[in-house]
């Protein structure tokens, strides 16, 4: 019964592939937990203070947590409005023949290695920010946030453009048929219908912003400090990833120092997981008006 055999083989092959993908995520989480266990048991709540001084055995990650949240908020706040408007332009206003061209260009942007963005950031953005705001140094949290916004823009544009473009034409026709203006069709009909997929695009961008290392590391100044007042982002700071990028190679494997670094990685994963779960719950990613 060859049909039955190929069917079984095919089913197991698919199952096996899924298990590998799920296993990788599970293994990463497990590894992070195992290696950060020493830091958790040795330092406990001390891990959430602001002092990071490995020779003295102080491993407070608050500054890094702050930096990560700050650059991500800046990046998303800048990239989402621009990205969404660009997506609307490409999908609804631009003539169809330009759509593919513009989209391929944007997808090209998404493939540029982050070190390139980092070098551009060091050579230009940090200088501009320094000059505009008359700072001692342009290596600030804001610079990191702007650079990240540029990096996640292509992702947000191309994915939310897909979301809007995939809304079936009957909705457009029905809305125009009711005599709505074009902006009403876009904002009152298409965007609400595409909402879940747009949220997915923003989440993917947010995840990339949080996990980005190289570009941020080069422009943020890398000092473990929470600015005062806390919303002053025109001073140097540190993110979890930039800290890891700079320090992980200099910590001896198995030390509390190393373990505390891994703990920061664990925190990053937990934050991204948390945001994804909350978003799924509130935006109901699975509910669509069309299939």
């Amino acid at each position: 019964m060859p049909a039955l055999i190929t069917d079984k083989v095919g089913k197991n092959y698919v199952l096996f592939s899924t298990l590998i993908s799920a296993g990788v995520i599970f293994m990463i989480l497990l590894m992070l937990l195992i290696y950060s266990w020493e830091a958790i048991t040795q330092n406990g709540w001390q891990l959430f203070t602001t002092v990071w001084n490995p020779p003295a055995g102080q491993f407070g990650i608050a500054s890094m947590l702050y930096g990560t949240v700050a650059v991500t908020v800046i990046a998303v706040a800048l990239a989402v409005p621009i990205g969404l408007m660009s997506a609307i332009m490409i999908s609804e206003i631009l003539p169809g023949r330009y759509r593919v061209m513009v989209k391929s260009l944007l997808e090209l942007l998404a493939g540029i290695p982050s070190i390139i963005y980092g070098l551009i950031g060091v050579a230009f953005f940090s200088l501009w920010i320094g000059n505009i705001f008359e700072l001692d140094t342009g290596r600030t949290i804001l610079t990191g946030g702007i650079l990240l916004a540029i990096m996640i823009l292509p992702i947000i544009i191309t994915l939310s453009e897909d979301a809007i473009h995939n809304v079936p034409d009957i909705y457009r026709e029905a809305a125009f048929g009711l005599g709505l203006y074009r902006h009403e069709v876009i904002f009152s009909t298409l965007l609400p219908i595409a909402r879940a997929d747009i949220a997915g695009a923003v989440l993917l961008g947010l995840g990339r912003a949080m996990g980005e290392t190289m570009a941020v590391m080069l422009v943020i100044g890398s000092i473990d400090r929470i600015p005062s007042p806390v919303f002053n982002t025109l001073v140097p700071g540190q993110t979890i990833t930039s800290k890891l990028g700079r320090e992980i190679t200099e910590s001896a494997f198995g030390s509390v120092h190393f373990s505390s670094m891994i703990f920061m990685g664990l925190m990053l994963l937990i934050i991204v997981l948390g945001i994804t779960l909350i978003a799924q719950r509130f935006i109901k990613l699975r509910s669509r008006l069309y299939e």
């Binding site: 001084n53 020779p55 140097p236 200099e250 001896a252």
Partner: protein, 279 residues
């Protein structure tokens, strides 16, 4: 069509395998201070021994110790002496150091600050700047500007040597720091881009826009950061640049170290502004 692709990929894979197995390779990692010399010496070494692959990276002195201790690289480049803590971290490793030259750690400032009259600082002033007691250039005879203090990553050899001299402790904290950067070129760029920065660099990294300062010793003597003063050991912030191996080097690693210590290698050390070690 798909078979062609598969065949091409397999060929590529085999080629990579071939490239990996054919030559003996030596991995070198460590200080960006030592990198320029070793990179050049490695170039000459390669032309004399074309069958050997030398892979040179630079992640800082601390990285070199960890990598050599963990057996991931054959030769480490360090721009300071090993600390007791590091030796204790790798009890199973037998670190052997090979001194290949001598270098100075020089306080470097932006051209603007230098031109405005800051030409030398005392050890006390340097300490006050890095601990945050002095925050304006006017306090040390410069323009009325905030001092942008650039610290280095903690594991960097340059920082160890500098902190040892100004505070007496190689891993002292620097609460006055505004930025923490890593490699010499990163610092060089940041100092160049600023109008008010101070950082510490090796002699080889100073240039028109990144000017080295003279250091006033505790005896009140002003010592310029010149090649002569580094060679004769007059400059107060001085260090050895060393290669480290895990155990006595053998085979190619040993050949390479001998090559660095040979007349040809030592000439390169001098070319880069470091002082040679006389055997």
């Amino acid at each position: 069509m798909s078979y062609k692709w598969l065949a091409a990929l397999s060929c590529l894979f085999l080629l990579v395998l071939y490239a990996c197995t054919n030559k003996e390779s030596i991995h070198i990692d460590g200080s960006t201070t030592v990198l320029p010399i070793i990179a050049e010496v490695a170039e000459e070494f390669r032309s004399q021994y074309p069958d050997i692959r030398l892979i040179v990276n630079a992640g800082g002195s601390g990285v070199a110790v960890h990598q050599v201790g963990a057996g991931r690289v054959h030769i480490g480049m360090i721009s300071r002496d090993l600390t007791e803590f590091e030796k204790a971290s790798y009890p199973q490793a037998d670190f052997v150091t090979h001194i290949i030259g001598r270098d100075a750690v020089i306080p470097a400032v932006s051209k603007y600050v230098y031109d405005a009259g800051v030409r030398q600082l005392s050890i006390d002033q340097l300490r006050a700047i890095y601990t945050g007691e002095i925050t304006n250039w006017a306090e040390v005879g410069g323009p009325d500007r905030h001092i942008l203090v650039i610290d280095k990553e903690r594991s960097r050899g340059t920082r160890h040597v500098f902190m040892e001299v100004i505070t007496g402790h190689p891993e002292a904290e620097a609460p006055g720091a505004d930025l923490v950067l890593g490699a010499n070129n990163e610092l060089q760029t940041a100092i160049m881009q600023s109008n008010s920065a101070i950082g510490v660099l090796s002699w080889a990294w100073l240039n028109e826009n990144v000017r080295g300062l003279a250091v006033i010793t505790d005896d009140g003597e002003i010592i310029e950061p010149t090649k002569e003063n580094i060679r004769n050991g007059q400059f107060p912030i001085i260090r050895n640049i060393e290669l480290i191996t895990n155990g006595q080097p053998s085979g190619i690693a040993s050949d390479f170290i001998d090559f660095v210590l040979s007349e040809q290698g030592q000439k390169k050390v001098e070319d880069f502004g470091y002082a040679r070690v006389d055997n």
